[in-house]
Symmetry: D4
Subunit: 249 residues, 8 copies
């Protein structure tokens, strides 16, 4: 409830249109539903322009099903579930129609949203083949929110001509998501080639001194290219969501 709405409620009360009780209910109203173990945030669609997402890791399959069912019952057409195990997905499939991508562990319950072909392009690039699961999480998330997404995989900087040859694809992008593990240099090189925001996603791909993605994370944070910002290691969802938000501006 913003200040304008507050004014209206108070004016209605002053004018006798509503009682103090009704005003009280409107002002104190909880814009979420309480399941005990979870509080589903319905106002979020209004507040943030996007339905809440269910993070699948660390929740039991029963918890996830209950949350999703409540959301669909309340009128959401589709619900995005990230990091859903195959096993939990199989359980939910018994109750609800779902789309599931095993590589990224992305699940969509309810209707699969359609992509709006008119929006600008989001380009998702990866350094290597092993970064694809994270990239795919970004791709499917952005598409869930109606974005037009192009992917360009295995264009790491050790063979920089593979990237340069796709300069045209990059130059069409309104937002680029750069997904890379190991030394994470992709974000800097891409950042220097394009004139749009670059969202860098470090991945935990690598071994030894990659320290579970720390190396790529630090590289990306220290990027000498402007226009680059970073999300958490392996956070394809966060990158896809943010890219969609920027793309719609």
């Amino acid at each position: 409830m913003n200040l304008d709405e507050l004014k209206k409620v108070l004016q209605s009360l002053e004018s006798g249109e509503i009682s103090w009780n009704e005003a009280y209910d409107k002002i104190k109203y909880q814009p979420y539903e309480d399941l005990g173990f979870a509080k589903i945030d319905y106002e979020r669609n209004i507040r943030q322009g996007a339905a809440e997402v269910v993070y699948g890791e660390g929740k039991t399959k029963e918890q996830i099903l209950e949350i999703v069912k409540h959301m669909l019952d309340k009128g959401e057409k589709s619900v995005l579930i990230t990091r859903l195990s195959k096993e939990s997905c199989d359980y939910i499939k018994g109750y609800l129609p779902v789309f599931y991508d095993e590589i990224s562990r992305i699940c969509i319950a309810g209707e699969k949203p359609s992509v709006n072909g008119k929006t600008g392009k989001i380009v998702v690039v990866t350094g290597g083949t092993s970064d694809i699961p994270v990239a795919q999480e970004a791709v499917l998330t952005a598409r869930f929110y109606g974005n037009n997404v192009v992917s360009l995989y295995d264009v790491g900087v050790a063979g920089v001509h593979r990237l340069l040859d796709n300069a045209q694809v990059l130059s069409d992008a309104r937002v680029v998501i750069a997904v890379a593990g190991m030394e994470g240099a992709l974000a800097s090189v891409v950042g220097g080639l394009v004139d749009c925001p670059v969202i860098a996603v470090p991945t935990s791909v690598g071994y030894g001194a990659s320290f579970g993605g720390l190396s790529a994370l630090l590289s990306m944070l220290n990027s000498c290219a402007s226009g680059v910002s970073v999300v958490n290691i392996d956070n394809g969802f966060g990158a896809g969501y943010l890219a969609g938000m920027i793309n719609k501006m």
Copy 2:
């Protein structure tokens, strides 16, 4: 030079409009100037829609002056210099007109660019008073690129009503820059309140287990709010630049 331009050059050569020498010069042309110790990137204004910026730290005052003079000579109207020491600024002031902000150590040589009142608003919030120098770097950078910037300082989450009372200011933003040290929680709370991109800037403000900004950095990377991305510790410039890029979309 993109592929379409390449086609044109080659067709002109085939048709005899230009000689191979001219074609060669166009294709091989170096879009930067080489000062030996630095290579100034002039194509960047075209490629990235923004003039190159001079990072003042680690360069001598003579080097900075030489770079800036070359850039102004080549036709840039104004040059942004970040992290410029007072001492270097005083030296440069002897040769060029400059604007200097001591708090953020931002310097603008040449004309001070004007702000375009019609662009959306960028809101810069800080957790505390000590975060202001970094925030100010973001504010002045974004204004350098013509953005409309509003600042909202000292609204840290330990007194969350200070932030909530300014919900209206936040809701008008097209981009929010959240600047905070210590526990860096500001980014998450702001991220949950707005429906636009939030660029989080961890600062080195704090002591003990803040480990020079590491605590705020990790907090922001782990933000449970969607739409949040992170730049390097104390990187006000990077946040201001990226915010301006998004704001103009």
Copy 3:
């Protein structure tokens, strides 16, 4: 044995009431029982007002059973065992009456202690659903020591209105336990809302740059709210025990 008791023993010896041998036994007396692999501390109930707790991890099921049986034989009515695996619990169940909570892996052998309804309220809040196992360890520990405990789950700061709507619950608390992983911002926001001690429990919930709870831990240590202190990552027991200690003051 404190100095007053020492005086009395010595005066009794001087007056001939007791022999030097009896005095010697009293002074040298070992207030614990030695099982070889463990030394059970019986004086602790007197010294610290609470019976010793058995930390289940890293002990064999036979060791745990032997320790618990000795404690019950010595007169403890109930023994708290933390981090007990399901398998060890099943073994112990063959010998002793036990209550077991699978989510938190808390086990109570012997009588289940009753809660004293008159004590102040301890409120346990979590950032998300995945933090519940740690929170539950705190809840059950505090109840074991007779405290009145209320839980409020999934009120993370990315949807801060969920927390604010429960301000009444928080304002009734004598102690708050804030359990959160990822960015751990919950402790700061709660700390700013209440006027009672807040015990922050970072959890290992998260991925990537959460580094097994390090991110939440650093956040909480750097909290800009006053009245917040921190226990080890995932240490629900420690928080529940300390909260009970404070609540009884």
Copy 4:
């Protein structure tokens, strides 16, 4: 404003006692004062039972003076300033009556609050002589809030009899603050001796593998004694504040 107050405002509006404008002002009222670079939180005294504290580091002396003057003007009798440099203190002294302790860099502007002899005792112990500045910050903070504080310095665990000989002092405590650098073992030993909350303050005292207090911090977080919680490295203020809060329960 809590829900009960909200009800009353709305009932007054319904009954015509107040206009919607007055109601609006009451509900939207900002309980802080905005100085631009800082937002002073006046409601805090009500909300948290203690006036806001000024953290001196990272603020200019002019900023500090302006904040403190506003607070005194608004009716605070005394204001606590932590980590105030000698130089800033000298500046403020020109305008306001202050008490200053050079060792802890604690400053009190306005009246020096009196200690309430009837409250329980807070005992502050240190491992060594070098930990005294941090301990003194805790002592003076707790006294600022009217607590009865006893200090016991240089009782580190490498000569554990020095601690045991003071068992009587410890046993009289309602709260103990254990301040130690290096290996930080003091918190565990003290935690095993007393039956009251122990607030552990790691200090940056040490060299080499103490890594600026990290060693003591980790030790204290891993304490095997129950009832121990930890604040940030060198955070004497936080410990003193929390101890006072617990002591008054």
Copy 5:
């Protein structure tokens, strides 16, 4: 394509030898093949004098097979696959002739390359027996590229005479690869004995404070011997490849 080649293409176009279309194809030509999930870099053999290598970890067995088949189809005689699991190897074996070494998980598909007996010797030394898998990855990689390789295992510095007695073997080397975990001191001692480049490979062999190879890595980076450089933890391939490159100079 280098500048000389560019000149020639342009001169041919000017002289009418080729059309702009042919010129365009030559200049824009992509020297890699796009499989969607991977882009195989064929120019690399020319650019770097060695065929691309397939890094087996993080790729499915189907992806690996497809990549390798394309490479062999394009004319590579043999393809090196590193970190190939036994299971993936068994799958590939169904389609292609392969050599597989279980200890190092090195696989060679196609013809096994022959060693050129005339090249200088590469000597691979290890600190202990547990370092052999990494050493073997280096040995087989170097041999794949035609190098003459000698191995000298279990000559760690705690029994330095074992190393000194093999001084003759070391003095014959053109390049030494020093493979060691734990304290990684081998690189320094070897570096002081020979007058050729030493490539140090830290291994994750060890426990406790070896922190997964970090200890050996730091040791080797801080080597006080000159002529020592370091590759990633457990990166036997990288060392073998680089050694071969140096050996052929």
Copy 6:
């Protein structure tokens, strides 16, 4: 071979007692046996007064058996194998007489050495029950070298009277081995109680901010007690070996 021996060999050669070939063999003689994958160091018994030990981790059971058999064949009466898996032990048992302790994974092949009752006492103390496997490795190693060892388990500092009541046992020690995880404070407290060397062994026992033993390791390195030195995390063998070395002085 030391310089005196060298002189003698040269004098014998000069005097014609031996030929240059015999001298050559004596000087160049390799005091180890080369199995290819391992080099067994026989001179060590002379050089260091103790037979070489076989570190079981990272070696195959066949490698271990071959090494041990060669050592016994060369005249060692018994061979100590550390960190031997149950499975490898069962394999070796098929060929050689062995003693095996499952808790510490210590194995002795050949004759079990007898303890020399006349040597001073080594006292091994642990903080908790979970530290026993590491302590047992120290105990069995020290006994293997003929030392008189006493163990005192579960005397952690959170109940410091358990330690003080055993002051007599500690005061009889010539060397103390202090084994503790979590906060590792045991080493400091013990170090302050005894007047003999204390070898501190941090263990990986703990969770959360113990970071796999790092917390205990740092604590012990920062011990404020004199006479304390530290070995690697979980390195019971190292402590037992060193204690025996000191005990025999």
Copy 7:
């Protein structure tokens, strides 16, 4: 007071030789002197066979003087002060006879103790010239306690023959102290050459990835040589003290 002494006191009381008051005094007696900011531990000479040492860092010159004067007044002939700044030393020199070594910042107040020529030799080796200040702290500490000390500087492992040529010196040692920064490999090589305890002292000598001594510390903890233990970075005092303790056994 040990148990035998306790028995005697109690028997004397029973027999009427002493009153309960006298017994009380004996039992409760505090074996240290309380200066408020420091508690000097006089019993330590009895308990640990060596007078307490004053750690100079973090204490004011007035505090140090007061502590030392009390110790000399109580009968200590000489007091060792470590890490004493030149400035503090000059101050103390005005009141007491002192010996001061600027390189190691070791100070001895009172009589300079004489060395006992009959004790075994302690050999102190360093990797480089820059490690000498730490080594010198060890040398002077060991001599303070009457030990015979030999130093052998700049024998780092990158020129291992410098160490081997001094094998005779090493073989005469009863204890070796190995002082090294950078890669810290010296401890392992020395550990493999001698049959006596090696105390490893990592130093903060180095740059870059030496991370203030962390590299040498980890190396030494992971030493593959037996008989090596480690003290804190730059802790020459600790090594010298422990070496003396072992040397006197």
Copy 8:
């Protein structure tokens, strides 16, 4: 002395050509000079083909002078001193002819060696202007050893065309030294462009999450380009020395 030389010495002794004393001197001969605080290694020129280098940091100016004078006296024509402060250089200049470069703090005492124009080219590239001091250390070191060195500064990957335009320079190199701070991506991009060894030098240039060069170091260690190895942060000397060694092969 190698085994062949040993044979000859022994045969000469057998044949009576030399006495045992002469043999003894030859075998035991120390190939270094002992200054007490330093041991100068003269055999190194023979053993490693390059004179010893004096590392200036951590040595007093008197120590450096003494070492250099001894080396020149022994016949070295010129001595390389690294990391020499301006102040020490001024002192040495009073006694010896020196060449000094303030940017890299490299000093050459004695004759300045001449470059051998016939050797292959070493190309030194930097990411930015601030990396020049480290690069210059590499350049001057390589030239000291007679190498032909070309430098190419400020070609960081955020403007990758600056690097590609210099592809010709890179393709002429026999060894490339890639010097970069911040994200350190330069090494990977260069590594993918050339077919010669790349020595990567991370620098401490950067701020925030560059953590003193750690970010660049990890990037370079994780480089996905083959043929890249890494030296310590800011270790220009090491890179220059190794490049020279490889270049001469």
